[in-house]
Symmetry: C3
Subunit: 268 residues, 3 copies
């Protein structure tokens, strides 16, 4: 059990307190509304991301078939586009689905997985980033490839401001900014880096929170807090990455607003 005084200490400012209260409300709304989230995600992550959304209380759909992805995305309350496996079918599906959610004025998340690893991926990610995602969930190397410059808090704020999108940068400490506000979330567990699709499924949780909260900064920060706190709970129960993956889904399923507020270590 974490010392409550530490928790208070790291959340002593007013914005962080407001964020925590808002996050608890967002989590409860996901449980109550069970939003439909359509995911265009890579083959490695599809199963785990669908299970993550179900554990959270959302309703996933995963089709990438061009004939129908538009209709699925149009009916969903949020969309996730993840570039983890960068095949032609998924690229076409992403274009169609983003068109659908644009028309319906629905939120969507871009997860530019491994964008730093190949030129065609970088180029395509930049094209998608220009189509106004509500939020991007990415790590430092991915941000550097997308922004064309190494990571810094200032650079992060500037990118978010210019793109009019929230950035959720995950790492030892997660950073969430809309350009103006910046939250630092210090939850998480080392085993999260030892299970594939963990980041991808975090992005799915961001999409689920965006589905029930119009303030994309609050929604993204909520998702990463939920994810980090659940990761700590799962890490305390696991004996390795195999048991951790199952424990993570169990922890996401059981987490409520009260435990979230108590366990989150957030500063603004």
């Amino acid at each position: 059990m974490r010392d409550a005084s530490t928790s208070r200490q790291t959340t002593s400012n007013a914005l962080a307190d407001e964020l925590l209260a808002g996050a608890a409300a967002v989590l409860e709304r996901v449980r109550t509304r069970a939003p439909h989230v359509h995911c265009i995600t890579n083959a490695v992550a599809q199963n785990f991301s669908a299970n993550m959304l179900l554990a959270l209380g959302a309703v996933p759909s995963m089709t990438i078939a061009p004939d129908e992805v538009g209709e699925f995305a149009a009916r969903a309350e949020a969309l996730l586009v993840n570039l983890g496996t960068f095949d032609a079918e998924r690229r076409a599906a992403a274009e169609i689905a983003i068109g659908s959610v644009d028309d319906a004025n629905r939120p969507w998340v871009l997860d530019p997985v491994f964008v730093e690893r190949s030129q065609p991926r970088t180029a395509f990610a930049k094209t998608l980033a220009a189509r106004h995602p509500s939020a991007l969930r990415l790590n430092r190397a991915e941000f550097a490839a997308l922004a064309g410059a190494p990571w810094s808090e200032g650079g992060l704020r500037a990118y978010a401001f210019e793109a009019d999108a929230v950035l959720g940068l995950t790492g030892e400490t997660d950073l969430v900014t809309d350009g103006a506000r910046l939250a630092r979330i210090a939850n998480g567990h080392p085993l999260m880096a030892k299970v594939t699709a963990m980041g991808c499924s975090a992005s799915a949780v961001v999409a689920a929170c965006l589905a029930v909260e119009t303030d994309a900064w609050l929604a993204t920060a909520t998702a990463l807090m939920v994810f980090g706190v659940a990761g700590e709970i799962a890490g305390a129960r696991a004996t390795g990455p195999g048991s951790f993956a199952a424990a993570m889904l169990d922890a996401i399923y059981a987490l409520d607003g009260e435990v979230l507020v108590q366990e989150a270590r957030v500063a603004c």
Copy 2:
């Protein structure tokens, strides 16, 4: 532990007793014969369905490549066609594989996942349903889309009779009918709805039972009883959907005819 008197009460009629005895025999035959089941299923469900078949004692194969799916299906003792991810390659594979099992006079199951969600999916599912599957495993919304009318016991019987196929309608209570006979199965656990591909893998179990039992009604009812009873056993051990998925495979692996007869709550 369930009260044995309840079990007796709900299975008091002769057909239900016969069904239970038959189901135990079908389960034992799957264990002994280890039938080969070819699955054309969606990307989200492939891994879990293969593991479900292995846990049950069957031998799965999953290829969808047009060059070879016909040969794989021809050698299999049963076929599953699931529409969960509705891509062009899988549609082509389904057509070829159904042709193969038709030629070989082998049973096959249609799982029209999300058929109510898009027009092209409904149209394709109707085409496949017209090619005489031995059984369809579906939920109420999927039945309504396929039948063009809301669900009712009478409608279910009429559809099964006209299509000359067994319907396995899963929900709070599962219904299995060939038009004449109708079984109601009251097993299951709420966490089954919190793990992706649970229904898809139930359809794989239906295919495995059809591989060893020519009475498609008995085979389908056996599969859904096995699935529901295993779900209850897993639910009693799980602490959330992550541990439930693993416990479900463990329970399917361990289940025998005696426990099945004892725990199944079935009425005809």
Copy 3:
């Protein structure tokens, strides 16, 4: 706990002792260097193989997109090509990636899954086998289809010698030969045959060991020892195939050189 005297008995010759010491060193090197392994593997196995590599301490990438697979493979320290789902995209990806690792003089593993099941698969596997993989990981039926003759120790040695490749033949006892040397590894657990993608993920472990060890015979034998010993540890903890899959990842994650040497049952 296995009797230490048995362990000594089965490893009494000098080559086996040398192999065990070498294997412990290879395992430690994988942990330290965290090699990048690119996997072209089937859809069923992608998630589990990525998790196996992460648990082992390697860094997986899984893309099969023709635009970028060459670049990913060129940056990886080893490549896995698995034929489990034999679609056109994966076949093209395999050709490109093998070209990349040839140019970079990097090791690669061929896993000719189900090569005995269809003619086009056999033909394609033979084409790939002719492109000089460092090692092939396969079972008896797959070897017979590839070699055009039933399995025998002599046939195995002859094939390895002629192909200038190491063969890792898995079964009740695993055999690893480069034509001259032959190791027999007697570890493993029956539940390994009840989880899909177990063999595929063993091949991924072979690739990770090849990434840090130029003696392909030592690397392949290490991988199969690590896999077999972890399987026994997991089997002792599991209650069925669902809990076994998670326990296997936990065991791979926790295994160190000392336990490997102590638990491996190897003869040369």
